[in-house]
Each structure stands twice: as C-alpha cells, then as structure tokens.
C-alpha cells in the first residue's frame, strides 16, 4: 500500500457571480447566480514513503485545492483518498498528529509573542515529550539559523525569518508527511536558497514524504525528483523533471561560434534563428534532426565552437501550460454554465 493513495478525486466550488453595477448588487440581495467551478477533476495519484514530489501548474490549476483535500481542510465532491491509511477529511487526531501543512501566505504563529512561545503551545497540542521537544527545536533552529531570534516577537521578524519559524513550528512534532504550499513565495534569492537547502537536508535525513507546490522552478529543480504537472484540475504529467523536456519539448537550442571570416548567411534553413550576435548565432533545431543538421552545418560553415542545450525548463513548462489551456478551452466553457 502506498503512503498516499488518491483515486478519482474531484472538487467543485460554488462561486457567486455578480454582474457589474449597483442594480446587480440589489438583485444579489434576493437571488444569486452561482457558477460551479471544478477545481479538481478526477485525480489519481500514488505517493510512496520518502518521496519529495512537486506539484507544478499555473495559478488556479488545482494544486492548492489538492493539498487542502489531503490535509482535510475541505471535503471532496467525489472520489477517495487515504494518507497513511487515514481519510484526511475525517480529521481524526491520529492523522492530524502525523502531518503538517505550511502555507507561504498564512501565518500560524502568535503574532505578538516570540516564536518560542508558539513552539511551547505546539509541544502541548502535539504531546511532544520534553527532551524530544528540546532536541528537535535546537536542531531545527540551528539548521535554519534562527536560534538567536527565538525570543523576538514574530511581528518583528523579516518574511524569510518568519517562514523559517513557520517551518520549525510545523516540523516540531516530526510529522511523517509535510505539505508545503508555496513556501518560498515573496522571499529573496538568499532566503529561498536557504530554505531549499534546509528542506533537502531534512528530507534526506529523516526520509519524510513532502508534497510541495511552487512557482519557482529553482525550488523544484533543487528538491524534487518527481514532478506532477496539474492544469485545469487534471494531472498532465507525472515523472522526472528531465522527462518534462523529453516529453514536451521537441527542440534543442544550438549555439554556434562562427569562424572569423564566416558570415551567418542562410542559417534559417536548419531551424529557427533565435539570436544573431556575430560571431555567435543561436538556433532552435528539431530534436530528431540535431545530429544530422550539425553535421551539415560543420560541413558547410567554418565553426570555431558549438554547444547543444535543452531549452530552459521555464520555457518548456510555460509552453506546456499554454498548450493545456488551449486544449481545454472549450471544455472549460462548458463547465461554467451558470446554475441557480
């Protein structure tokens, strides 16, 4: 049995639709039109113990909804899911003591008190024995380099420091599963990097299972071997990060360093010319024809140097998102027929 088992999970919301203007507001007092928005449309997923999985997808794709379902904050409209044998939305204490959810934009600590005080409360809520609590807190705050800030009111911490405190609070009870919703949102590059480093170290050491949503490709590239792309409430891809490029990108980027006397003429016969900065030329070439095309180029032109690269991951994923959007456009319109 897998640690997380999800079968045919669906969730739709009712969203109040208001036309523009005062008259519409008046009408809204008596009867309201609701749209049914399907945030998650049938997800099947298995996650094994010790995996570090990233959920990628455009805004509103259903990533956060999936995390909310798995942490029991919302009930599904259809389908089933178990996490460590528990049905999350039953919200049993036995389950709630074994996972943690950290949302980058939500604050769980007592705003006006030092983080240490919030940690004490967590110790009680999660029934953490004294010595274990002390050890874990020392370990976490040393790893995250926030030990000196324990006595400072949370409201006086920077966003990055606060996020580190949130993570500490979430991990105090040594959860088996950690759900992270955009943990690095709004943080500067250094803070992002520190949190990535910490998560990587902690996950490898404790072998806990982490599900992460993020918009920063760097987070994902640094942390997750497995990537699940969710768009329009469905899983569009499940596999390795490198696999995304293989599956969705049919191109390679080739950079040529032309010889001194060579002019960049007629290169567009081999592929799309992306950039010309003599003596350097960047081409996009069909993946299947790379070897053959390069041989031809070397034959006909004087080339000092060349490199072949996969297109940047961000570009590929942006392309995947927009493809999915186009493909589902008609389907989405059908889902949004107003219901009274």
């Amino acid at each position: 049995m897998s640690l997380i088992e999800i079968d045919g999970l669906e969730k739709s919301y009712r969203v109040y639709q208001k036309q523009e203007g005062l008259w519409a507001s008046m009408k809204g007092l008596f009867g309201r039109e609701y749209n049914e928005v399907q945030a998650v449309k049938g997800i099947d997923l298995r996650v094994e113990q010790g995996e570090f999985v990233a959920f990628l997808g455009p805004n509103g794709a259903g990533k956060t909804t999936t995390l909310k379902l798995l942490s029991g904050v919302i009930n599904p409209t259809a389908g089933r899911a178990t996490v460590m044998g528990h049905v999350p939305w039953k919200r049993e204490n036995a389950y709630r003591r074994r996972f943690a959810l950290v949302m980058g934009q939500k604050n769980q600590l007592w705003w006006d008190l030092p983080a240490q005080e919030s940690f004490r409360l967590h110790q009680q809520i999660y029934r953490i024995p004294d010595d274990q609590f002390k050890n874990t807190m020392t370990e976490l705050t040393e790893l995250l380099d926030v030990k000196r800030l324990l006595k400072q009111p949370v409201r006086e911490l920077s966003l990055g420091e606060r996020m580190k405190m949130e993570l500490t609070a979430a991990l105090l009870h040594s959860p088996d599963i950690l759900f992270l919703d955009e943990p690095t949102i709004g943080l500067d590059v250094v803070a992002q990097h520190n949190i990535q480093k910490f998560l990587k170290y902690y996950q490898e050491k404790r072998q806990i299972t982490i599900l992460l949503t993020s918009h920063y490709m760097k987070d994902v590239a640094a942390l997750c071997k497995r990537v699940v792309i969710i768009a329009q409430g469905q899983i569009k891809y499940d596999g390795s990060l490198a696999g995304i490029i293989d599956q969705f990108s049919g191109y390679k980027n080739v950079t040529l360093q032309l010889g001194e006397t060579q002019t960049p003429d007629n290169l567009d016969q081999f592929g799309t010319v992306l950039e010309v900065e003599v003596p350097r030329v960047k081409l996009r070439i069909d993946r299947n024809k790379v070897a053959h095309t390069l041989a031809t180029i070397l034959e006909k032109y004087t080339i000092d140097d060349m490199s072949v690269e996969d297109p940047p991951l961000e570009d590929v994923i942006a392309e995947v998102f927009s493809q999915v959007n186009d493909a589902n456009h008609s389907g989405q319109l059908e889902d949004n027929t107003p219901k009274k």
């Binding site: 009712r14 904050v73 919302i74 009930n75 769980q108 005080e117 409360l121 009680q124 809520i125």
Partner: protein
C-alpha cells in the same frame, strides 16, 4: 487516562499563559483601555443624581423610581459594571467571523486542537489580565461609593452573587460564540452583532434595572438569557431576589448555558462541514 487528563490540563495552562502574555504586550493601550472604562461612572452618577433631583423637586433623597432610591440606583449601576466585566465578550464573535473570512480557521482543522476550547481559555486569560489591572480602580470606586450600598449581605447572598458572576461569564461566552458561528453562513456578522448589542443594552439591565419594566415585559425578560448578563447578579447582591426565585433563576440560567454550549457546538460542527464543502 490520568496522563491524558494531565496533558490536557497542561495544554490549557499553556494557552492561558500565552493569552495573558499576549494581552500584556501592548501595555500602554491595555492599561489606558482598562482605566478609561471607569470614566463613564462619574457621568452616570451625576446623570442619575440630576434625574432623581428633578423627580424629588430638588431633594433627591425622597425621590423614587419604581423601588429604587438614588443610592439604590448608583449601587445597582456599579454592580452591573462589575457584572459586565465578567459577561461582556468584546471581539469574540467578530473574531470568529474574521477567522472564517480570512481562512485562519484552517489552523483548527489541521491541528489537533479544539477551537471552542481554545477560545474559551484564551478569553479567561483576557479576563484575568483585565482583572489584574482593573482590580485597583474597582476597589477604589467601591470604597468611595460604599455609602450607596446597603449593609453587607450575608454569606449565602455573596456565594450566590459569585456564582451568578461566573455563570454570567460562561453564558456570555457561549452566547457570543454562537453568534460568531453564524459567520459560517453569512461571513459578516457585525450588523447582527449590533442588533444583539442594542437588545442586550436594554434587556440585560445594563441601561436600567429590569424590575422597572411593566409586568408583561418583565415576564418576557425573565425567560430571556440576556438578563443574566447584567441585571440578575446585581439584583442578587442587592437582595432583590427572594430565595425561591433565586433557585429558579439559577436553574433557568443553567438551562440557557447548556443550550448555548450545545448550539455553539452544533453550529461549529455544521459550519465546518459547510466550510469544507464549499470553501477553503
């Protein structure tokens, strides 16, 4: 089993401690807010003095409103102030509504902790912090105004008075928590709260003693929960509640407490169901 109880007590203690600490963070605002509440006393005493003087044609000592003389009225007013220090719950319902609206309520769904229990302990913490500062001014006011009070009541009356104060706290908490739970359906409860405050102001006895009301009204008010938030404890202290009525009153109050405990629990349960069904 004993261990579980001990752990639960320890959790409550930590919540209580944090609640008090949080209250004491903004020392200046807290102290000023606490002390400012005593200012209206002076204006109220003068107001009643003017009213009684005009009724008594220049001699307030002979004037009566219902069964109340001027000193009865001042004593009553001071006692309702004390009572409301127990039963009023500033920010409780609106706090719950705020948590529902901004999603902070998720915390209580994810962590193994009961929200109503948490809020109750937190409220006790607020009250304790408040009393620790307010006890000085309260003692001073009651000392200066001791002439307005009748002779010291007997021990039974004092015991009954303390019981009604504590029950007033519990009733006030669960009543306003129940109103807060309505925010699961309406999101914003401030207007509802305003209506409640308005009714409460008149029907709890905060504005004037309820036994001044005409007979028909009196019966209605007798069976409403509001009178236990201000009038009832004051009336008990002033010896206006005969023994058989006292027992009946306490029983009705207990009934209301149980009702609002059950109602707030039920509304919370249904509300979470609704929240997890639609929102998130």
């Amino acid at each position: 089993m004993a261990n579980a109880v001990y752990n639960q007590m320890l959790t409550w203690w930590v919540i209580l401690r944090l609640g008090i600490e949080e209250r004491l963070v903004y020392r200046g605002d807290f102290a000023l807010g606490t002390l400012m509440r005593f200012l209206p006393i002076i204006t109220q005493i003068f107001l009643w003095w003017a009213i009684f003087e005009s009724i008594g044609d220049g001699d307030q000592s002979v004037a009566r409103i219902g069964e109340y003389s001027y000193s009865d009225m001042v004593a009553y007013y001071l006692l309702t102030m004390l009572t409301r220090a127990f039963s009023s719950m500033p920010g409780l319902a609106s706090g719950i509504a705020g948590q529902v609206r901004n999603g902070e309520i998720k915390k209580f769904m994810i962590q193994p902790i009961d929200m109503i229990g948490f809020l109750l302990i937190n409220r006790i913490a607020h009250k304790l912090a408040y009393y620790s500062v307010a006890i000085g001014p309260f003692a001073l006011v009651f000392f200066l105004c001791s002439g307005f009070f009748p002779d010291r009541p007997d021990m039974t009356t004092i015991a009954a008075f303390i019981a009604t104060l504590l029950m007033g706290f519990v009733l006030g908490f669960f009543l306003e928590a129940s109103i807060g739970m309505i925010s699961f359906w309406f999101l914003e409860v401030s207007s509802l709260l305003f209506v409640y405050m308005l009714f409460s102001f008149f029907l709890s006895g905060h504005m004037f003693p309820l036994d001044m009301l005409p007979a028909g009204w009196g019966t209605i008010v007798d069976f409403l929960p509001l009178k236990y938030l201000a009038y009832f404890p004051a009336a008990v202290f002033l010896g206006k509640v005969p023994e058989d009525e006292l027992a009946r009153g306490l029983l009705i109050e207990l009934g209301w407490i149980l009702f609002f405990i059950a109602f707030s629990r039920f509304a919370f349960w249904r509300g979470l169901k609704r929240y997890s069904g639609f929102g998130g």
